[in-house]
């Protein structure tokens, strides 16, 4: 039959590739953000689009899902799903594909569900895609899938509002709603970057298993090369809207061919645990040679920070929450100590107590040999001068209406340091020290990149020449390549100025690169502490092991990947 041959011709082509993207270009108005991108996802396969902010990865995802803002963005090229050109379809014919063929898992689960409607009401919409009209049957199916994604007490979840659930639970809900109509392809846009590391691993494991069970293809959008390599069969590396490199994950990950992919790979902390350590160890003696750094002007090299049995209780709703329960740690001069923990671990409270922003209920905090308890505000202020903070998010921590020069000078004005000319000179030196050109001083934060902003925040902390700098997740808002630059700068400054760092992070791989010692916090307790090598090689506490296990590491091919590649090779 002539009709049939034509059909088989087409379907043979389709069976190979569920999703084909050919020459996709996307522009916002006159600004092109994606240039001529092509890739394809086979049925049951997973592909990761990797890139840093501005690489166009999310824009490509939105174009495939046809969720780009109307009238603002134009996509040209061909996006074929099961052979149908998605971009050319009128909305009326595309809508039936939404959810049923194409699922979407968004980045931030906390904002991805309507806050004023129950989980159940929103799940009903997803269940309606199955063609089931009876709400009670739909409800049963919803409860099933909620159970399937590992949510305890599904009927309670069904009746909950989004704000009553944790981020990890919400992401499970979203995955449940996405897989419920059994789509052929799921587009997941950074599905775990808003979650704690251990939760991230659980969610990714669950997603991998569901995919295998239900034979769903995955297009994973991520900035994290390690996650991509661990979870996807093939990778597409994007930069500035163009494909840099693509191929099977293991190949790209193990031996990247382009410079960009190589540098991305080099910037993954988990792969290069000793990157900054080597620099530090070899260069520390140079500092002992003695210049007039603040550290060497102090007589002895003892403990810069000594926190002993600090307790802080918050009461909320009649319930007492122990944010810190006998937390102790200490940091030697010129060393880096890390506080590691997930949300709710008490690390932020510990930092606030150290900085004097909160008063401890018990215990003692000593900074540079001076106890902070039972002192007047003025005294604490003077101590705090030796103690500066670099805040997590440089996009919100700098006053957008101030120029950089004023931002950096502010602490000097506050403490009334030196003359006006002297302060201006100090600001110039500090900006230079953090690797910023002097003309930056006259710019406002909006005109700076994320990395430059964080350098400004570092300069602001260093301008009063503190002994101790508290780094609160200093790179978590930044791209990996930018992160590498900031970490390099921090390690250089530590070397040159003899600074003591308290590094707060949830990222163990990062901590391993930068810290000498570490305290692992969980629910206000220090569950384990010691030198970094020891914690990493011989973790004692099960929680530390769980944290370490959550670091994505695609050094060896996973079972799934090997079997897939074997299947491919034999096909």
């Amino acid at each position: 039959m002539p009709l049939n041959t034509q059909d088989t011709n087409v379907s043979a082509d389709l069976l190979a590739d569920l999703l084909t993207v050919q020459g996709l270009s996307i522009a916002y108005g006159p600004t092109a953000v994606v240039h001529d991108v092509s890739f394809s996802v086979a049925k049951g396969e997973s592909l990761a689009l990797i890139g840093e902010s501005g690489s166009g990865k999310s824009t490509i995802a939105k174009a495939i899902l046809r969720l780009l803002p109307h009238g603002e963005a134009t996509a040209t090229g061909r996006v074929a799903l099961n052979g149908r050109d998605v971009l050319a379809l009128p909305e009326k014919h595309f809508r039936p594909l939404r959810g049923r063929e194409l699922g979407f898992i968004p980045q931030d689960p906390a904002s991805a569900l309507n806050p004023v409607r129950t989980i159940g009401a929103q799940a009903q919409e997803a269940a309606a895609l199955l063609g089931e009209t009876d709400p009670t049957v739909r409800r049963a199916k919803i409860l099933d899938v909620l159970e399937q994604v590992g949510l305890p007490d599904p009927s309670r979840v069904y009746d909950s509002y989004p704000h009553q659930l944790s981020g990890g639970m919400l992401q499970r809900v979203l995955i449940a709603l996405t897989v419920l109509p059994r789509p052929a392809l799921i587009v997941a846009d950074e599905p775990t970057s808003a979650l704690d590391v251990t939760v991230q691993k659980l969610i990714l494991d669950m997603l991998t298993e569901l995919r295998r069970e239900l034979d769903i293809s995955l297009l994973l959008i991520t900035h994290d090369l390690a996650i991509a390599a661990e979870r996807a069969d093939s990778l597409v590396v994007l930069k500035d809207g163009s494909v840099q490199e693509s191929g099977p994950s293991l190949e790209v990950f193990a031996s990247p061919t382009t410079d960009y992919a190589r540098s991305l790979q080099a910037d993954v902390p988990a792969l290069h645990p000793d990157r900054y350590r080597n620099q530090r160890i070899t260069l520390t003696p140079a500092h002992d040679g003695g210049s007039r750094t603040p550290a060497s002007s102090a007589p002895d090299a003892g403990l810069q920070i000594d926190v002993r049995g600090v307790t802080k209780r918050f009461s909320a709703g009649g319930k007492d929450v122990l944010a810190c329960d006998g937390v102790s740690f200490s940091v030697e001069r010129g060393r880096t100590h890390a506080l590691v923990g997930e949300s709710g671990s008490g690390k932020t409270t510990a930092v606030r107590l150290l900085l004097g922003l909160e008063q401890p209920d018990g215990g003692d905090i000593t900074v540079a040999g001076q106890s902070t308890s039972g002192r007047s505000r003025a005294d604490v202020r003077e101590i705090r001068r030796h103690l500066q903070l670099v805040y997590q998010n440089p996009f919100t921590s700098l006053d957008p209406t101030w120029r950089v020069g004023r931002i950096v000078r502010e602490p000097l004005d506050q403490f009334g340091v030196g003359t006006k000319a002297g302060r201006a000179q100090r600001v110039r030196e500090t900006l230079e020290a953090v690797g910023l050109p002097s003309e930056v001083a006259s710019r406002r934060p909006a005109h700076l990149s994320g990395g430059q902003r964080q350098r400004v925040a570092i300069a602001r902390a260093l301008v009063v020449r503190p002994d101790v700098v508290v780094l609160d997740e200093p790179t978590s808002a930044l791209d990996v390549s930018v992160q590498a630059g900031i970490l390099e700068l921090l390690s250089k400054l530590q070397r040159e100025l003899g600074l003591t760092y308290l590094f707060v992070s949830h990222d163990l791989a990062l901590v391993r690169q930068v810290a000498d010692s570490v305290s692992v916090l969980r629910r206000g307790h220090v569950v384990e502490d010691g030198p970094v090598e020891e914690i990493f090689h011989r973790p004692q506490h099960p929680y530390t092991r769980a944290l370490l296990g959550a670091i994505p590491l695609a050094t060896a091919p996973t079972e799934e990947q090997t079997s897939k590649q074997l299947a491919k090779a034999t096909a």
């Binding site: 039936p96 939404r98 959810g99 699922g103 806050p115 004023v116 009553q164 979203l174």
Partner: protein
């Protein structure tokens, strides 16, 4: 509802009663510090033809020979028992004067409010879903509505629909059609701020990630609007509606005058010119009651619309741990 909500509702209702009483006291004090002894002036007016006995009785009733504070307490006591006194101009009970005028004004204000809400929703929907240029035009409607004074709209509508198109006659201002046009006159300026709030919150909500995710679930724009966007966008609008009621009360005075309707507006106008203190006091208190009641309803509705509204500080989220 929960006991938390009951406690919240009772607290708010108690606060509302206090606000009404304070408004009453304030009105009384403002009227009493006005130059001239209004009541005595009116009573002594020979036109009234009151006998010295009558005057003495009235003076005793209002406690006019007593200090202001005693007068206030007497007046407040009467107000609490629902006794509003007598008009100084007509000698009719104030409750009767207000009661006669109230239905007309309530009809006007209520229909105006409903029309304003319809206008606002239609404008906001158009601003959201009409194609580019049309949406821009629709978006400019609220500022246009705001910039045209109430009486100009009224006169234009009368000229156009009563005199040219003969949709209604000005001689029967209480006919349904005439009432409709009066209500439209009142609704137009009032709908503008409401539409603006609604447009802004719809803009905000439709850009939220949950709207994107709902769209990815295959919801049509109309369903997305009705199921997802209306409720969260309604939250700021509900507060706005409560404020708008104040404008409606003020605007109805002008509108009633233009359309020649008898209502609270006319009563106020006569009472002010005639220095009719008991009537003024009653009307101002009534306005306070209406305004406070509507705001109370808005307050009580917001926790029902938004589950995130905390009723008490101590009510912590019940987090089910992951």
């Amino acid at each position: 509802m929960t006991s938390d909500y009951k406690r919240f509702a009772l607290t708010r209702a108690g606060q509302a009663v206090i606000v009404v009483l304070l408004a009453y006291v304030l009105t009384f004090l403002v009227i009493s510090v006005l130059p001239g002894d209004a009541i005595t002036n009116t009573l002594r007016d020979p036109q009234h033809g009151l006998s010295e006995e009558d005057i003495q009785r009235i003076v005793a009733f209002y406690g006019l020979d007593q200090p202001v504070i005693v007068q206030l307490l007497l007046s407040l006591g009467r107000f609490l028992t629902g006794e509003l006194g007598f008009s100084l101009q007509s000698n009719l009970p104030v409750s009767q004067i207000v009661g006669d005028a109230l239905p007309s004004t309530l009809t006007l204000a209520t229909s105006a409010l409903l029309i304003a809400i319809v206008f606002a929703v239609v404008i906001a929907y158009g601003a959201q879903y009409l194609p580019g240029r049309w949406a821009a035009i629709v978006r400019s409607i609220p500022s246009f509505f705001l910039s045209v004074p109430n009486f100009v709209i009224g006169l234009v509508l009368i000229e156009l629909f009563a005199f040219r198109l003969h949709s209604f006659t000005t001689t029967d201002p209480n006919s349904p059609v005439a009432t409709l046009f009066a209500a439209i006159t009142l609704a137009i300026p009032v709908s503008a701020p409401l539409a603006e709030v609604l447009i802004a919150s719809l803009d905000h909500e439709s850009r939220q990630e949950y709207a994107l995710v709902a769209r990815s679930r295959g919801l049509s724009e109309a369903k997305l609007f009705a199921k997802h966007l209306v409720k969260p966008s309604a939250l700021p609008s509900v507060a706005m509606v409560a404020l708008i009621v104040g404008e409606l009360l003020g605007g109805s005075v002008i509108t009633e005058t233009i359309f020649g309707r008898d209502g609270i507006g006319t009563v106020v106008q006569k009472a002010v010119t005639g220095e009719d203190q008991p009537v003024l006091q009653a009307v101002v208190s009534l306005s306070a009651v209406v305004f406070v009641a509507v705001n109370l309803v808005a307050d009580l509705a917001s926790p029902l619309l938004d589950p995130r509204v905390k009723l008490r500080e101590s009510k912590l989220r019940e987090k089910v741990s992951a």
